[in-house]
């Protein structure tokens, strides 16, 4: 289990990175934390001719929190973002990502770009309506909304030659609560199913809006907008989920589970929203 041969590039800045990426095109692959890419290389499931290692791009090792939300640079690792404590839902999700040692190395933007349908962070981006900033040589960066970024299992809107430079997680409105509920086989494994919920109360402390993003039950994070009807979480999630069965769980179980988790996440989010409003 050794990686196939490739040319290793270690650019010093984003400009140089984009030039190399442009030249490599589909033969190139970006290496950030490597916690997903290197296993694929070791198993020879991926064989890029060029690996563009962005670990020297300290300019991308950023976590910027502002009134509009949090922008996480492409080299910001899970552990660092978690420690920054800048976004409640992101924090809740990061605790569920693999194991602490993996989080020391893996990056938030890398997890998004990897686009695993059972991963937590794509769901967070999706439920918040966040975006990924994508750069390419000779063009202005573009912001891709989450709804367009995840295009299929392990597939994103990133095109050959492009670099995801940052991700933006919008701030929560006032009187908003969040929760992430999931079931995995072992602690730290990818979820069999998972649901994150965002619930916002109006001035009279009634639920004004509730949104879910479900993982492990479709090719991309499944966003369910419940409007004010947050109590319909379980049914709404089950209605739209299209899980597959695999060695770990049947499709029927996952469908059942996503309903249970949707209800739990919505209830927990509603509770925290009330606490936030109190």
């Amino acid at each position: 289990m050794k990686p196939p041969p490739f040319v290793h590039h270690a650019p010093r800045d984003v400009g140089e990175t984009l030039e190399i990426l442009a030249e490599a095109g589909p033969r190139g692959k970006v290496l950030a934390g490597g916690q997903s890419l290197i296993p694929m290389l070791n198993m020879r499931l991926a064989a890029p001719e060029h690996v563009i290692d962005i670990n020297r791009l300290t300019e991308l090792d950023t976590v910027e929190a502002g009134p509009g939300g949090v922008t996480v640079g492409a080299l910001a690792r899970h552990a660092r973002v978690a420690r920054a404590g800048v976004h409640p839902l992101l924090g809740q999700a990061l605790r569920l990502v693999a194991h602490p040692v993996i989080r020391n190395r893996g990056t938030v933007v890398g997890s998004l770009a990897h686009a695993d349908p059972a991963a937590e962070l794509p769901a967070v981006l999706a439920v918040l309506g966040g975006s990924v900033r994508v750069a390419r040589a000779g063009a202005a960066p573009r912001d891709v909304p989450a709804a367009e970024f995840f295009t299929g299992p392990m597939e994103s809107a990133l095109r050959p030659g492009e670099l995801a430079v940052s991700a933006h997680f919008p701030a929560l409105p006032p009187r908003t609560g969040t929760a992430f509920a999931e079931v995995s086989r072992r602690h730290g494994d990818y979820a069999l199913a998972g649901v994150c919920a965002v619930v916002t109360l109006d001035g009279d402390l009634r639920v004004a809006s509730a949104r879910l993003a479900c993982i492990g039950v479709g090719p991309v994070p499944l966003v369910v907008d419940l409007g004010a009807d947050w109590k319909s979480a379980a049914d709404a999630a089950r209605e739209r989920a299209e899980p597959d069965g695999d060695v770990h769980a049947s499709a029927a179980y996952r469908l059942h589970l996503v309903g249970v988790l949707a209800r739990k996440a919505a209830e927990r989010a509603e509770r925290t929203a009330r606490e936030a409003a109190a």
């Binding site: 289990m1 196939p4 041969p5 020879r44 990818y190 770990h248 769980a249």
Partner: protein, 784 residues
């Protein structure tokens, strides 16, 4: 000076080196060796039409490529069938490299040798094998139907079929006893495949100097690997040495030998005149080593109103995978050890072992016992449920009583010897486990259940092990035994035995295992046998050395040997410690010398002593030096036992299963080192929980292993293992001088039965198939 000896929780000798990165595992050796890698079959069943290696020839650093056609006849023939048995009428083994047909994904087809493993894998990727894909036999029941064949010359895919029957005391057959019983039940029980999965894979490293071959292998039996290599490579045995270095876990899989790689790597090293090494990677280990556990059991039982079993009939379908290198040990063990601590009226057991196009099946810790115990303990629970009795009450009604030992179960065990239990106290053990878990005061609630499982384990199977003990003139004691170590702490436990038997400080004792340069006769480490077999052999060797030391010292002290003893390395007159002589000096005196090389040895030269001029310096029957050799060969196995209990909680919605308490009462006779024994139990329980709730080998209908990675083959982490409470009962074995029984496999054996019992209690649903995932439990609930 330490007095920590037999029975003490002495810290391990192994630890300082293993804690500092100074351990030497297989892939830590031979830094300059060439690396081997293998092209393995991607198909479960296929005919090889052509192999085109030309693509690989461009790889810089490629040294050699071998296919079956390149192998000499003695290497290319099918590998040995290690344990033949009359019932194994159609035993089949693989060739080191496939000749024409591949029978499981992962079967080796081409061997590549290159300057390093990266390059070897590059070359493998460029070799093209043209396969004609054949229909695979993937499932156990599909194999039993026999529509398609794994081996064209094995009709019905049946490798072995064996029936054993023990009539009741009144001479009734099981069928008659069941028919006449007041109550009968019949049901089916399934256990899926799992695997040993040590964290270090297999590995072989060989060097050849033109006359002598030295092979290192991550094996559970270096002596037998040595003989297998010598035979296959046609080398005189004295010119082959095999060493098991530090081994990163075995759990059964590394007892199999010779692996293809254990012959091919040394052969290539000789051919190339270069050191060659192969270190198995994880993906290879999943598809090219061995699995175990997969069996289907059909049980019929007849019992009386008290729950006493009057007749039991078990029919087993055993999945052998593609080959049978280790014979039919696993289903034999299931068949015999199924009976556990119980006296059963009449018993009939039948197994059919069938081939499938999957990785071969050989023993994994427990070796068929977890399946047998699952059958028996599920049976006990079902009887209790049927009669509305407490589950422990039904067990108590069936237990063998202490006064009934030795107890003959009337069957033939895996060593070909009668299945006779030597000692035990099962009622006391049941009392202890109930107390430890709080059985009688357990508060049942929805989603909360308690379970129990009991087992008896034949340990310390023969034929023999040996030990060599030498006291050198510096007073150090060198102990060696041929069997190997994979983490059991043998260097510590055997030193404790030797120190106790010899009367020397344990710090002066060193132990070597698994090195054929030091000890050539051995069987191996499996079947919970190392402590029983080598422990007793070393004790016997020590007795011989001690007797000689007393004879030599008696002459020097002008005393009667019968009046002497050894304390802290000094031989002295009992009750008169001032008249003493150190063992170091005894060692000098035991070796009459012509040449002195230091002051101490000057005492042993021809002109130094008071030896009689009328006697030879070495008396007839004596040997120079202070050393001894002992062999222990038991008439039959000694039987350890245990009872486990657990409390589980199940989530009413998500169907998650959590083990909240786990308790073990265990009897392995006299404990050499209770800390090590407890560690063995903990590890076994964790593997058992893995097997009960997480681990299975998931093959699809094409014979592809769907979860061949640690991402998807779910070995438990710390987060999945509950605290483990333990209690010890000691009924010494009357069969061996030290009174010990084996402990290595114990922890794993009843766990699936215990967890099934507890989940069934929590859910009120029959649990008849393990492992059990939340998804499985969800579907059981749906179907209930």
């Amino acid at each position: 000076m330490s007095t920590r000896l037999f029975g003490e929780p002495m810290p391990r000798r192994e630890d300082p080196r293993l804690l500092t990165g100074q351990g030497r595992y297989l892939d830590d050796l031979g830094p300059g060796a060439l690396a081997a890698a293998f092209v393995r079959s991607p198909h479960a069943h296929a005919r090889i039409r052509d192999i085109d290696v030309s693509g690989a020839l461009d790889v810089d650093g490629l040294v050699a490529v071998y296919t079956w056609e390149d192998l000499p006849e003695r290497i290319g023939r099918p590998l040995p069938l290690l344990i033949p048995h009359p019932a194994l009428t159609h035993g089949r083994t693989a060739r080191p490299l496939a000749r024409d047909v591949v029978r499981h994904v992962g079967e080796p087809v081409v061997m590549v040798v290159a300057e390093d493993r990266y390059l070897a894998e590059d070359a493998c990727a460029l070799i093209e094998v043209d396969y004609e894909v054949l229909e695979p036999v993937a499932g156990l029941e599909e194999a039993a139907r026999g529509d398609r064949l794994v081996h064209a010359d094995v009709p019905g895919n049946v490798g072995a079929h064996l029936v054993q029957e023990v009539p009741s005391a009144g001479g009734r057959s099981a069928a008659d006893a069941i028919a006449a019983a007041p109550h009968t039940l019949s049901f089916r029980l399934d256990i899926e495949r799992s695997a040993s999965m040590p964290l270090e894979g297999r590995g072989v490293y060989a060097r050849w100097d033109g006359a002598d071959l030295r092979v290192y292998s991550s094996t559970q039996t270096s002596t037998s690997v040595r003989m297998a290599i010598a035979a296959a490579l046609e080398l005189p045995l004295p010119h082959v040495e095999v060493i098991a270095p530090d081994v990163g876990g075995g759990f059964g899989v590394k007892i199999v030998h010779p692996w293809p790689e254990e012959l091919l790597v040394p052969w290539a090293a000789m051919l190339l005149g270069r050191e060659v090494k192969w270190a198995e990677d994880r993906r290879e280990h999943f598809v090219a080593a061995a699995h175990e556990r997969g069996q289907v059991h059909r049980v019929r039982v007849g019992f009386d109103d008290e729950g006493r079993v009057l007749g039991l009939d078990v029919s087993i379908l055993h999945d052998h995978g593609a080959y049978t290198p280790y014979g039919i040990i696993v289903p034999i063990v299931t068949s015999t050890q199924l009976l556990g601590p119980y006296r059963i009226g009449a018993y009939r057991v039948e197994f059919t072992a069938v081939y499938t196009n999957t990785v071969q099946v050989t023993p994994y810790r427990g070796a068929g016992r977890p399946q047998g115990v699952f059958c028996m303990e599920r049976t006990m629970d079902k009887i209790a449920r049927h009669l509305g009795k407490d589950r422990t009450e039904v067990r108590a009604a069936n237990l063998i009583r202490p006064e009934e030992f030795p107890y003959d179960q009337g069957l033939t065990f895996q060593d070909g010897r009668p299945l006779v239990y030597d000692s035990g106290d099962y009622p006391e053990m049941l009392r202890m486990i109930k107390e430890l878990i709080g059985w009688d005061s357990f508060e049942r609630a929805p989603g909360r259940g308690i379970g129990i499982g009991c087992y008896v384990e034949g340990t310390g199977v023969g034929p023999y092990e040996g030990g060599h003990v030498q006291i050198t003139s510096d007073g150090r004691v060198h102990v060696s035994t041929g069997l190997t170590s994979q983490g059991q702490g043998h260097e510590t436990a055997f030193a404790q035995i030797a120190a106790t038997e010899l009367g020397v400080p344990v710090e002066r004792v060193s132990v070597v295992t698994g090195d054929t340069r030091r000890f050539g006769y051995a069987v191996g480490t499996f079947a919970s046998r190392a402590a029983v077999m080598s422990g007793n052999a070393i004790a016997l060797a020590c007795a011989e050395v001690r007797a000689k030391a007393l004879r030599v010292a008696a002459a020097a002290l002008e005393a009667d040997p019968a009046d002497l003893t050894v304390t802290d390395g000094l031989v002295h007159v009992v009750g008169a410690p001032s008249a003493s002589i150190p063992l170091a000096t005894v060692a000098v005196l035991a070796n009459p010398l012509r040449y002195a090389f230091d002051e101490e040895t000057a005492r042993a030269t021809q002109f130094a002593g008071a030896a009689s001029p009328d006697r030879p310096p070495v008396e007839p029957g004596e040997e120079p030096g202070l050393e001894g050799r002992g062999y222990y060969s038991p008439i039959r196995s000694t039987f350890a036992a245990g009872m486990h209990a657990a409390v589980v909680e199940t989530d009413p919605e998500t169907a998650e299963i959590k083990v909240v308490r786990y308790a073990v009462v265990h009897d392995c006779g006299r404990l050499i080192n209770p800390m090590i024994v407890e560690g063995q139990i903990h590890g076994g329980v964790a593997q058992g929980i893995g097997g009960a709730l997480y681990e299975r080998m998931a093959y699809d209908g094409d014979g592809q292993l769907l979860n061949a990675s640690f991402m998807d083959f779910l070995m438990p982490y710390a987060t999945e293992i509950p605290p483990i409470e333990t209690g010890h009962l000691e009924t010494p074995s009357p069969l061996n001088p030290l009174g010990i029984k084996g402990a290595g496999e114990a922890g794993v054996i009843p766990v699936s039965a215990v967890i099934a019992s507890a989940v069934e209690d929590a859910e009120g649903i029959s649990i008849d198939r393990m492992p059990l995932s939340p998804s499985d439990l969800f579907h059981l609930r749906e179907g209930a």
